[in-house]
């Protein structure tokens, strides 16, 4: 479940320049968070193996450590480590390649897992003097987080669902509204917020992914406002390593971070009793930032993310083969989301009913919702009775939703790079094979000797390396 959320954060992180990475890796909590949730599994093994290695690891040794069948996995792990500037490769005098961890990352990760140093980046708990009042319970924090977050979601879908603004009590702060507009999740048309394509993708995601999504928008915006990316990011990663139900002191935070506290408490990610309070509580939205909020039985079953209201409603939709849809819910958000692609007809105290029609699906597709999203939403929230069959949705309905979408969409757009004009068939095969191993290959044409990739950095580095290697011989 964290897969999609960590991908987002990972893609953002990969886009940062070397200098920012260097500064980020100064803080052990950040390094630990990056290690825990950004790296693929094998990359973790590589990093840990190299963490206490006294000298650089020759590339040949690394290659020997992996099974020959795992070439693709190895290349992927190395490429991500390289893009995050965790691994640096160096050419030795005898032209052999060797890898080593970047200095800052190595030092900070060591400190993080040894618990050494005096960096104080894992949150300073509040003292009794700072607290002044009773410690707050976890239930209260969850409630706070849920109200704030659902407020945001409802704000987004309310316009499309035809609720007048202000008709429901939930509302969001001006800062958050600005954020949603900035991220192009919502556009204001005729005074009513209108959800965009990105916004709909956003709404259908897991809560964890949504939080990351919004925070990345926040990062971009913060950058424009002159907030240092490093400070914002390291603060977020620190939040992820805090303990739910513990209050923390604001005394060690910088001005930027204090500013952030205000913004984050508006979103429900942290809680402060008042604006000038000297303590803050992270909510569940914050503490699950850098973890799979998923199943962690044994440790805290009762306080799992499952208490989220969205999960409580899990499984409430029934779809019939005649495209009729019944949803056992009275949540306005659920109804609003359903109304984006369904023609709703009746509403009862605990049930809404409607129909999936060509018009309603077309409308959804035009506003940027894909058929895959609709189907995955319906499947995820299918009623337990429906889930008894496999697949849960009637195949005719799934196919028809797809067909309705294809009527309007014929062209698919991917941004990337076209590689062509290779000198020889051998060279083409080699580079194309490498691209495939990296998982960046989008399209290829063997006859024309050209192919299309979504990321080019690794390939150009590879070509350069090849050139160097040939020059030496």
């Amino acid at each position: 479940m964290s897969a999609s959320s960590s991908i987002q954060a990972l893609e953002y992180l990969q886009g940062l320049p070397l200098q920012t990475h260097r500064k980020l890796y100064e803080a052990p909590s950040t390094v630990l968070a990056v290690f825990r949730c950004m790296l693929p599994h094998l990359a973790k093994s590589i990093v840990m193996a190299m963490l206490y290695m006294p000298s650089a690891l020759p590339a040949a040794d690394l290659e020997a450590w992996f099974k020959p069948s795992a070439r693709r996995e190895r290349e992927q792990a190395l490429s991500i480590l390289d893009r995050l500037h965790i691994l640096t490769s160096k050419r030795e005098d005898d032209r052999s390649l060797s890898y080593s961890l970047s200095q800052g990352f190595q030092r900070s990760l060591r400190q993080a897992i040894e618990g050494s140093g005096t960096h104080r980046t894992f949150g300073v708990p509040a003292t009794k003097a700072e607290r002044r009042e009773e410690k707050l319970g976890i239930d209260f924090l969850d409630q706070h987080a849920r109200t704030q977050w659902e407020g945001i979601l409802f704000f987004m879908v309310s316009g499309a669902a035809g609720f007048a603004p202000g008709s429901v009590k939930m509302d969001v702060g001006p800062g958050t509204k600005q954020l949603l507009h900035k991220g192009d999740l919502v556009r204001t048309v005729h005074e009513t917020p209108k959800i965009t394509k990105e916004g709909f993708t956003f709404v259908l995601q897991e809560t964890n992914a949504q939080v990351w999504n919004l925070l990345i928008v926040y990062l971009r915006m913060g950058h424009e406002l002159g907030m240092s990316e490093t400070e914002v990011l390291s603060f977020l990663f620190m939040l992820g390593s805090l303990e739910l139900g513990q209050d923390y002191s604001t005394s060690t935070l910088s001005d930027t971070q204090l500013q952030m506290l205000d913004d984050l408490s508006a979103m429900g990610i942290v809680y402060r009793s008042s604006k000038d309070s000297r303590t803050f509580y992270p909510t569940r939205l914050a503490t699950t930032l850098t973890s799979d909020s998923g199943a962690l039985p044994g440790t805290d079953i009762s306080t799992n993310e499952k208490t989220d209201s969205k999960a409580q409603n899990k499984g409430f939709i029934i779809v019939e083969t005649n495209y009729r849809l019944y949803a056992y819910t009275n949540s306005l958000i659920q109804i609003a989301i359903l109304s984006l692609f369904t023609k709703l007809q009746h509403r009862f105290p605990n049930l809404v009913s409607g129909k999936l029609t060509k018009e309603s699906v077309h409308r959804a597709v035009q506003s940027g919702i894909t058929s895959a999203q609709i189907i995955s939403y319906l499947t995820t929230y299918a009623h337990p009775q429906m889930q008894k069959s496999n697949p849960p949705l009637p195949p005719t309905v799934m196919d028809q939703i797809r067909l309705w979408e294809y009527e309007g969409e014929r062209v698919e757009v991917t941004t990337g790079y076209l590689m062509r004009e290779f000198g020889s068939e051998v060279e083409y095969r080699d580079v194309q094979g490498y691209a495939e191993a990296l998982g960046v290959l989008v399209w290829k044409n063997d006859a024309e000797r050209c192919f299309f990739v979504s990321h080019v950095e690794q390939i150009s580095a590879y070509l350069k390396k090849k050139k160097e290697g040939r020059g030496g011989r």
Binding site: H41, S45, M48, F66, K67, S69, F122, T290, G439, V442
Partner: protein, 376 residues
């Protein structure tokens, strides 16, 4: 089509690996550590292992750890701290895990340290506290009683803990929907769906001469084999036939480092990758495995022994009291076997020739070699 392919791959590579449970059996035999203290002291080793545990916990968000000390007079949990008497009664393979006043291990008295990730700090303080307690309880009479360690009991504790955690981790198998889904899917899928926890056991062993626990250890090995739990062995000192067999039978890592002071690097490189990562890594294993068994009568490792035809017990000599098997009490007439030795010898010679010519592990090659020529 391309996009479907592309997205599929993306999801595949980024899908989170299953959480992994690492049960560490730490051999704390005071005699052996005293012997080893010139190159690696017990406290240094423990510090290294704590770093290793943190690394393991960091490698996966839902990763778990259990640490069991195999001491000279008892085997006990270092982490998680045994709390109520009920689980103790169920877990206690040795029946002597009982400790007082260990409740509330996760209490609030652990000082909040802003330099340490809280999850790490909790595990670390619990292990150190329990370890200090174990050492305090050890007195001279315990040390004098035995020069070895209760590895068999410790492995059993690890296995019981793993089996309990696996049950806790199995997704709501009781709920109707998943049951019916499992019934619909083929048996293989259902199997994968219901055991999302991958577990392994790591034994950090320093004592040799474990043959007196041949039977309990072998039973544990077979249990682990059946449950598909790899047993990794880090042998810092001493040599035992037994543990090598354990790692070989369960597909674990076996390492006997020449320089014990480099413990952390060995741990990080060879023992940290879990089952998911091992699928694409070359893992070190014992080259030639010594498959010799220990006899049931004197706990000696034997090359050639006598096997009870009823219960398969192994004896080093044929001179059993009253010709009765010591384990099952069956009457065994060994005389016919002794009178008729030529029947045994040609077969043995054949085996030996095979071993001589074949460079591969002797145990693995023999059964295959005897059967293949007949039915190609």
């Amino acid at each position: 089509m391309n996009t479907i392919d592309g997205s599929d791959r993306h999801v595949q590579t980024d899908s989170a690996p299953p959480p992994s449970l690492l049960a560490i059996v730490l051999d704390t035999n005071p005699h052996a550590w005293a012997h080893l203290s010139s190159s690696l002291s017990l406290s240094a080793a423990l510090a290294n292992i704590l770093v290793f545990i943190n690394a393991h916990l960091a490698s996966g968000n839902a990763n778990e750890v259990a640490v069991i000390a195999s001491h000279s007079h008892k085997a006990t949990f270092l982490y998680p701290t045994p709390t109520a008497p009920q689980p103790k009664a169920r877990n206690g393979a040795n029946g002597d895990v009982a400790m007082n006043g260990t409740d509330d291990s996760k209490g609030h008295h652990i000082a909040e340290n802003p330099n340490k990730y809280r999850a790490f700090a909790l595990v670390e303080s619990a292990i150190l506290k329990n370890f200090a307690k174990l050492l305090d309880e050890t007195n001279e009479s315990h040390l004098a009683a035995t020069p070895t360690t209760l590895i068999g009991g410790a492995i059993s504790l690890a296995l019981t803990y793993i089996s309990k955690s696996t049950m806790l981790h199995a997704p709501t198998a009781a709920s109707a929907e998943s049951m019916s889904l499992a019934a619909l899917a083929d048996s293989e899928n259902a199997h994968v769906d219901r055991i999302p926890l991958t577990s392994r056991i790591l034994i950090v062993s320093v004592s040799g001469d474990l043959a007196n626990q041949y039977i309990p250890v072998m039973n544990s090995i077979f249990a682990a084999q059946r449950k598909k739990i790899p047993i990794d062995i880090l042998k810092l000192a001493g040599d035992t036939v037994l543990l090598q067999q354990a790692s070989d039978a369960t597909g674990g890592v076996y390492m006997k480092p020449d320089r014990p002071e480099g413990l952390l690097q060995y741990l990080m490189m060879a023992f940290l990758p879990d089952a998911t990562a091992r699928a694409s890594l070359v893992i070190p294993s014992a080259g030639g495995v010594d498959f010799r068994a220990a006899c049931f009568c004197h706990r000696k490792v034997v090359d050639v022994g006598f096997v009870c035809s009823v219960c398969l017990s192994i004896f080093c000599s044929s001179n059993l009291p009253d010709n009765l098997c010591l384990t099952c009490g069956s009457y065994l007439s060994l005389r016919s076997a002794l009178i008729n030795p030529p029947a045994l010898i040609p077969r043995k010679k054949k085996k030996k020739r095979k071993v001589g010519t074949d460079s591969a592990t002797p145990g693995a090659s023999t059964p295959a070699g005897s059967s293949t020529p007949m039915h190609p």
